[in-house]
Subunit: 316 residues, 2 copies
């Protein structure tokens, strides 16, 4: 087998010749001296490099990098925003706004020493909610910080807003690349889930070869193997859980919905890899219909059960 | 004791009155109705708020916030830079520069499609090292990315540079605040270590009350208690390890140097809290002298040992 392989790659060479390659030869066939010819090892390495180039060039690899960057941007933003929040809470502890960009804008707008200016700026930003925030500011338990402290906090807030903008741009870009690499997959699962699935298995082609039942639990390997070994309950969803249709559904039907989506995702991956036609829209419509059906059936069943228990209570 | 405390705070009130407070009274002493007077609980809460205000106002608390922010900026920078590096390594894997800002500047300067422009820009940035980088670029195994991919990478690089700048500014600011809050401590340990020590114990005053031996192992509590419980080796240094004199010293004398520094730090904390004079310069000079002595003695001992082993080898 090994000999065969050698022959396939470097035709017409005897094994003896191959061995000579490995030694340090000081002259080539014509007798001209040279310092270092490409040995077999070097030639194979060169070939592997070329192969790697074509492997990397595929756009689905870029999608994975973009997704990783977005993930880390989110992590960095969380870190910095939490610190900002903690620090600014000395000055204005009552300000509780989950939206990071809005919070940062308010940090830039509020100045206790210039309440009039603050009021107009807050009104511009928050509209109806402005009066509530102004009331909170007036009765605030916060402590006055030095101007230079507040300046540093505001500089940080500005940077957080810029990072947030970068993250948004990245997300838009990811969407574009996903539509280009795997339009069907992106339509059905959204670009983020598409990128995560591809990253998880290491390529679109590999994903296309997986059955729907595997795609359903990708990312939940720990729970899956726990199930196989110790007979605990099998996982209902892995990366797919991040799909809004799954995590917004009632617990009882999440598994069913995850299965429906995984089926379509598996189909979409196959179309994206081998077909290149865009059927995502129709597939998504069908999928949404099916999900609605599942939800309706669940609601009906719940209603029935409620009526049953009510009747039981009445008869009791 | 409880009664005493009550009397001290709300003079002339009997316990009976205190109980009445807790009920919902509908009128006050004059018989005028009111909705909600300040109950005892509310009054105590108000007092605690006032006390908290004065506690927070102290500048050493601000120092702790600044230090936390710097730490998180560093973490965020690490995250994002690693991702950037990973992504850019497809395009130019040979570029290995540990300095984040320089790497980012090179990312912005390099463009494989405009080698001439790249050369002049790289020369401007790197000086003598430019030719090396250009050679690496020309023989690079990297893969050409699309222009829009590179643009996104460059945008990220820009943001990283900005964050780096913010971090530097924060560090300068921290130094200023540390010099203001604890000039002696900052002179001897540097502003970052001063801030970390203060943050660790929860205030400059608390730090001033600790003996040098405790300050030496602050931040190494785990190892300390392991030592006390299981009789492992005691830790030689905690937060102090970050002092350049400690971590750049040979292992054998790190403990001695840490002890020397901790002694001076403990003194400095006491001066900063109760004295307010600036003796840091002289103390630091003395400390540096002592550290030099320790290092010299260690070098001598090592030399002697070497000579001994050499002699032994000769006689063998």
């Amino acid at each position: 087998m090994g000999k065969n392989w050698n022959n396939r790659r470097f035709e017409g060479r005897s094994d003896d010749r191959g061995n000579r390659d490995r030694d340090n030869r000081n002259d080539n066939r014509d007798g001209r001296p040279f310092k270092k010819g490409p040995t077999k090892r070097e030639r194979i390495l060169e070939e592997m490099k070329q192969r790697m180039k074509t492997a990397y060039l595929s756009r689905d690899a870029v999608l994975v990098y973009i997704d990783g960057m977005i993930e880390d941007l989110e992590k960095a933003l969380n870190l910095l925003f939490e610190r900002l929040n903690e620090w600014y809470s000395i000055y204005f502890p009552e300000l509780k706004i989950p939206d990071r960009t809005k919070y940062c804008k308010l940090v830039l707008a509020i100045n206790k020493e210039d309440m009039k200016g603050t009021e107009s700026r807050v009104k511009e930003l928050m509209g109806d909610k402005a009066s509530e925030i102004m009331k909170q500011l007036e009765t605030s338990n916060g402590i006055d910080l030095l101007g230079k402290d507040i300046q540093k906090i505001q500089e940080t807030a500005e940077k957080i807003m810029e990072l947030e903008r970068l993250k948004e741009e990245m997300e838009k870009y990811e969407e574009g690349v996903a539509k280009e690499v795997c339009p069907n997959l992106a339509e059905i699962g959204g670009p983020r889930i598409a990128a995560k699935l591809i990253a998880h298995v290491g390529g679109l082609q590999k994903l296309a070869k997986l059955p729907a039942s595997t795609i359903q639990v990708l990312g939940a390997e720990k729970a899956l193997f726990r199930h196989l070994k110790k007979h605990t309950k099998p996982p209902k969803h892995g990366i797919i859980f991040q799909h809004t249709s799954v995590h917004s559904a009632p617990r009882t039907v999440r598994g069913k919905i995850a299965r429906t989506i995984a089926t379509k995702l598996s189909l979409a991956a196959k179309i994206d890899t081998y077909g290149k036609r865009f059927l995502g829209k129709e597939m998504k419509e069908k999928m949404d219909e099916k999900i609605k059906e599942i939800l309706a059936r669940d609601a009906k069943a719940e209603l029935k059960e409620q009526q049953k228990t009510e009747e039981q209570q009445k008869t009791e």
